[in-house]
């Protein structure tokens, strides 16, 4: 609570008091009087700050309102601004003369207007309001943790930081799309059925003539084709096509592979945006649409419907899956700690202080007997008394100690020194073992080991409090790396904080290939086919390019769907750093020029140390940079070629069974899906 400025001021005052009150009071009492007066004022400020801290800061309350379109909403739309109003009330009887109140805005949002920070004086029983406008560019989940309050006295001697935790989670629904602008405005065929239905070439109650057949007893007289009957001299009955609704089922990939990336800009977010646009356009056309989300283990199905409630459910589901994050399995615990520790200190400052979340020195001591060779050291200590059985050992050690004690020293010092030398040399193996034991254990008190263990213990205690597992939970998380990594991962995901995950395992394989999702997707498709009523459109939004030979279950499912006259459209997310397949790849040329930024860097090398770089140094830097640049290009081009090849294979395999594969950034995928729906609706219609 006392800042560095406060400590220095206190030290100066105490020195002045010592000098003024005990060394120079007979020359002048002014130093003593000044120091005593300033000390009294310092104590007064300390007491005042404590009173305000306990009587006002500890009692602050927070309420939050989120408004969009002028009214309070439980969820918001992506792409549209919404207002956040945070009210901080001081119910205590003390005022806060100076405080900085900062709302911890949700991640992946941008502030359009206002400020989330307020520098204010908060009087007793009064409120303060922070108003700002946010916009969330992508669907997902917003989490407002609470308000961070920092207070200090006017002089900067005392400081306190609290976090008023009022966690609020809100869904960010995908943006509303302009469905009218996305569908065809001109009607090309007079026979085009009204929106929401399409003609099925089966006899039904539609308005389009399908066929003529002989009259059967029981046919209604109004269905008799009189002219045809007159020509053929027998009763002929008209058959009409069946008008049935158009149904589209979206399959959205939510596996680990599409969750990678910065918040709000993942492949999953882009796919979810496409799915939302398709859903809203289909709903605008009164078509039925369903959503199936799947990952490596399971698929969640929302059956096709076209009500408003269904639309909201689909958008909610899309928003929830957009916020999914990759699991942190395989991430080293140290990296997780470095990520989670600042967050825990920011959001739970009072639970992470050393005052109540401590790590004693005894826990930092490294126990020797946990190691196998520790028992050898113990045996050395226990067996050392056997030396007493050697004849003349004790006498020899006594003589040795006596000879090493200097004669001119005082008597007591001589006695102490004699016994010290005797104790050290009577059992040499035990002495060495004890020294080794001490050095082994004391290593835990210093360096990175101490820092890491302290942070890990504090985080473990926080998790134990949240889980209610008690003291055993603390040691469980300290001892078990996997359990700790899982728990930290949960903690980070709960607070919507992403942790950088390794993309490749120790053998260089891509960790997020997720081959199991092909089987899950195939099962979901077959299930949808089995429940289909007529020709349907299956839109698969999935990252399938990496699957390669593991794609076969999906190929078989597509074959089944196409055999039942359903349409299959696969939309593959395309990585932003990979050029499209029709883009020519520049072959690596050793003689290619060097990046000008590298050349500029070479010129400034060594200037930070106040030296001008020599020509040789510049050349060395340029050559190293050129090599690195060439190597990077080679690797990038190789990976690009490999990805293109995988994409071509995917297109070939699925095209062979009747599926259409396209990239998400290849034109407008939403328009493409709507065209397919039109084709399905009109059968003969085409753009």
């Amino acid at each position: 609570m006392l800042t560095a400025r406060g400590w220095w001021f206190l030290i100066v005052l105490l020195l002045m008091l010592v000098i003024g009150a005990f060394i120079t009071p007979y020359f002048s009492v002014v130093p003593a009087l000044v120091s005593l007066t300033l000390l009294a004022w310092f104590v007064w400020e300390w007491a005042l700050f404590h009173a305000r801290s306990n009587g006002a800061v500890s009692r602050l309350g927070v309420t939050r309102h989120v408004l969009q379109g002028g009214r309070e909403v439980p969820m918001v739309w992506a792409g549209l601004g919404f207002e956040v109003r945070v009210s901080i009330k001081n119910p205590g009887s003390f005022s806060i003369p100076f405080g900085v109140f900062e709302d911890r805005a949700a991640v992946a949002t941008e502030i359009i207007a206002g400020s989330k920070q307020a520098f204010a004086r908060l009087e007793a029983r009064e409120s303060l309001e922070i108003v700002y406008t946010l916009r969330c560019p992508a669907p997902g989940v917003l989490r407002f943790e609470g308000v961070r309050v920092r207070v200090a006295d006017f002089q900067g001697f005392f400081y306190r930081h609290v976090f008023l935790r009022v966690p609020v989670e809100m869904l960010v629904l995908p943006p509303l799309t302009d469905d009218k602008g996305r569908q065809r405005a001109t009607k090309r065929f007079n026979t085009l059925p009204p929106p929401g239905i399409h003609r099925l070439r089966r006899p039904g109650s539609g308005s389009e003539l399908l066929d003529l057949r002989d009259y059967r007893p029981g046919d209604p007289p109004k269905m008799i084709a009189w002219k045809a009957s007159a020509r053929r001299d027998r009763l002929i009955t008209k058959e009409f096509e069946s008008d049935v609704p158009v149904r589209a089922v979206l399959f959205l990939d939510t596996s680990e592979g599409v969750r990678l990336g910065p918040p709000g800009n993942t492949l999953l977010t882009r796919l979810a945006s496409v799915a939302a646009a398709v859903s809203q356009a289909a709903a605008g056309n009164r078509d039925l649409f369903g959503l199936t989300t799947f990952d490596e283990t399971e698929a969640k199905v929302i059956p096709p419907a076209r009500t408003q409630l269904h639309m909201i459910n689909v958008l909610r589901q899309l928003a929830e899956v957009s916020a999914l994050q990759p699991s942190a399995i395989g991430v080293p615990p140290e990296q997780l700690i470095r990520r989670a520790n600042p967050l825990a200190h920011e959001v739970y400052p009072e639970l992470m202080t050393k005052k109540i979340n401590s790590l004693p020195f005894s826990r930092l001591w490294i126990p020797l007997l946990d190691r196998k060779y520790g028992w050898v050291i113990l045996a050395m200590i226990l067996l050392s008394p056997l030396l007493l059985m050697v004849k003349g050992w004790t006498t020899g050690v006594l003589n040795f100690a006596g000879a090493r004690t200097p004669a001119p020293w005082p008597f007591l010092l001589k006695v102490f020194w004699f016994f010290l030398v005797f104790a050290v040399s009577i059992f040499p193996p035990a002495t060495f073992a004890l020294i080794f034991w001490g050095l082994h254990g004391v290593r835990g008190w210093f360096g990175i080991r101490r820092r890491e263990l302290t942070r890990r213990k504090q985080l473990s205690a926080l998790f134990a409090i949240q889980d209610g597992t008690g003291a055993s939970g603390v040691e469980h998380y300290i001892a078990d790396d996997t359990a700790f990594a899982n728990r930290v991962s949960q903690f980070l995901q709960r607070h919507l904080l992403r942790c950088p995950v390794p993309l490749y395992d120790t053998e260089g394989r891509y960790r997020f290939r997720c081959p199991a999702k092909a089987t899950v997707l195939a099962n979901a498709m077959v299930r949808a086919v089995s429940r289909a009523r007529d020709n349907e459109l299956y839109v698969i939004l999935a990252d399938l390019a990496e699957l390669g030979p593991d794609l076969m279950p999906l190929v078989r499912a597509c074959r089944v769907a196409c055999a039942r006259h359903h349409h299959v459209l696969v939309i593959v997310p395309w990585p932003s750093d990979v050029p499209p397949p029709d883009h020519p790849i520049i072959e690596v040329d050793e003689s290619m020029g060097i990046d000008p930024t590298v050349a500029a860097r070479a010129k400034t090398t060594g200037q930070q140390k106040g030296k001008t770089p020599s020509v040789r140094q510049q050349r060395t830097v340029l050559i190293a940079a050129a090599r690195r640049s060439v190597m990077m290009r080679t690797v990038r081009d190789s990976l690009t070629k490999q990805y293109h090849e995988l994409f071509r294979n995917l297109r070939r395999e699925l095209g062979r069974v009747g599926g259409t594969v396209m990239r998400v950034n290849d034109g407008d995928p939403v328009q493409h899906v709507l065209d397919r729906l039109d084709r399905l609706r009109g059968m003969r219609s085409r753009r």
């Binding site: 400025r5 220095w8 001021f9 100066v12 005052l13 002045m16 008091l17 000098i19 003024g20 005990f22 120079t24 009071p25 007979y26 020359f27 002048s28 009492v29 130093p31 009087l33 000044v34 005593l36 007066t37 009294a40 004022w41 007491a47 404590h50 306990n54 009587g55 009692r59 003369p97 900085v100 920070q117 307020a118 520098f119 920092r150 200090a152 006017f154 002089q155 900067g156 400081y159 639970l351 109540i356 979340n357 401590s358 930092l364 946990d370 190691r371 835990g444 080991r449 205690a461 409090i465 008690g470 003291a471 055993s472 603390v474 040691e475 469980h476 300290i478 001892a479 078990d480 790396d481």
Partner: protein
């Protein structure tokens, strides 16, 4: 356009010190704020008046060099936001009070100084001036440069100091500051009187009694009591000890009363863990060992603190 059809005056751009406290002021802007902002100017005037008074008092004592030095350091501290200026001023003042001419060794020892200086007007004015200057200097520093400390232990380039905006200054703040300074000066005088006005009486029932006149002159106590300096020391340490003990009891209890549920749970958990940590550590290691035995292909479980690999 206003109702009369005249164009509205253009909205005035905010001056740097009129923004919130997250904007760092350049030194020039800090100077302009001291002069132009009415609320901050009050502190500036108070500090300048205090410095002038210190100079006059020191000049009166024959220590004109000390006065000039203090004025120079104080002025530079105010204008350029020196955080160390109050400490330097206090050091210079102490030096020149002992050696008025600034030359070491040329000082006047007065054996009656302690008794003569009780509630001396010149001392009161000087102390009041110093207190006002110190408080004003620190407050101006908080307004012009930094009021809240940096929280990270390692300073980063992008860290910006947080100021206290001048708009938060209350109208009567300077007057309250001067009033508190007066009260504190009186408290300091009383404290100094208490420290020198009593002596230890080991033979009495109550171990303290009012000191006799001229007691501060005696270097040794013939009756077996403590000498004057030691008595002052005992009283000072005793005041600090019991004062801080009472304050900690009061505020500590208040703090406990204000503890949240999570904080209380953490205190209980931490104390329980400290008592049983070795047993829990052993059990956790056995569990980890059992899991590893059950799945040999999985990750090795190690205690990061003990390096134990069971």
């Amino acid at each position: 356009m206003n109702p009369k059809g005249q164009p509205e005056p253009a909205e005035r751009a905010l001056l740097p010190w009129e923004t919130d406290g997250s904007v760092k002021l350049m030194p020039r802007d800090g100077l302009r704020m001291l002069v132009n902002n009415v609320a901050v100017r009050g502190y500036l005037v108070a500090a300048l008046a205090a410095l002038a008074m210190i100079f006059l008092m020191l000049f009166n004592l024959g220590s004109d060099i000390g006065g000039i030095l203090i004025v120079i350091v104080g002025l530079l501290g105010l204008l350029f936001q020196w955080r160390t200026a109050p400490g330097i001023v206090l050091t210079i003042l102490t030096y020149f009070m002992v050696f008025p001419f600034g030359i070491p060794g040329e000082s006047f020892e007065n054996r009656w100084e302690i008794e003569e200086a009780r509630f001396r007007v010149t001392d009161i004015v000087l102390v009041l001036s110093v207190v006002v200057y110190v408080i004003a200097q620190y407050r101006v520093y908080g307004l012009a440069h930094q009021a809240l400390i940096f929280e990270n232990s390692v300073r980063r380039k992008e860290d910006r100091p947080t100021r206290r905006p001048p708009s938060l200054i209350r109208p009567a703040e300077v007057a309250v500051m001067v009033g508190i300074s007066v009260v504190m000066v009186i408290a300091g005088q009383v404290l100094w009187y208490v420290l020198n006005g009593f002596e230890v009486a080991t033979t009495e029932e109550f171990p303290f009694k009012p000191s006799e006149p001229g007691r501060s002159l005696r270097r040794l106590e013939p009756t077996g009591g403590l000498p004057a300096g030691a008595t002052r020391f005992v009283l000072l340490v005793g005041l600090f000890f019991f004062g801080s003990l009472i304050a900690h009891l009061i505020f500590g209890y208040w703090r406990l009363r204000m503890l949240g549920q999570a904080e209380g749970a953490m205190m209980v958990l931490d104390s329980g863990w400290i008592e049983t940590k070795r047993e829990h550590q052993r059990v956790a290691l056995w569990h980890a060992w059992a899991r590893e035995r059950a799945s040999p292909g999985r990750t090795r479980y190690t205690d990061s603190s003990s390096e134990a690999k069971p």
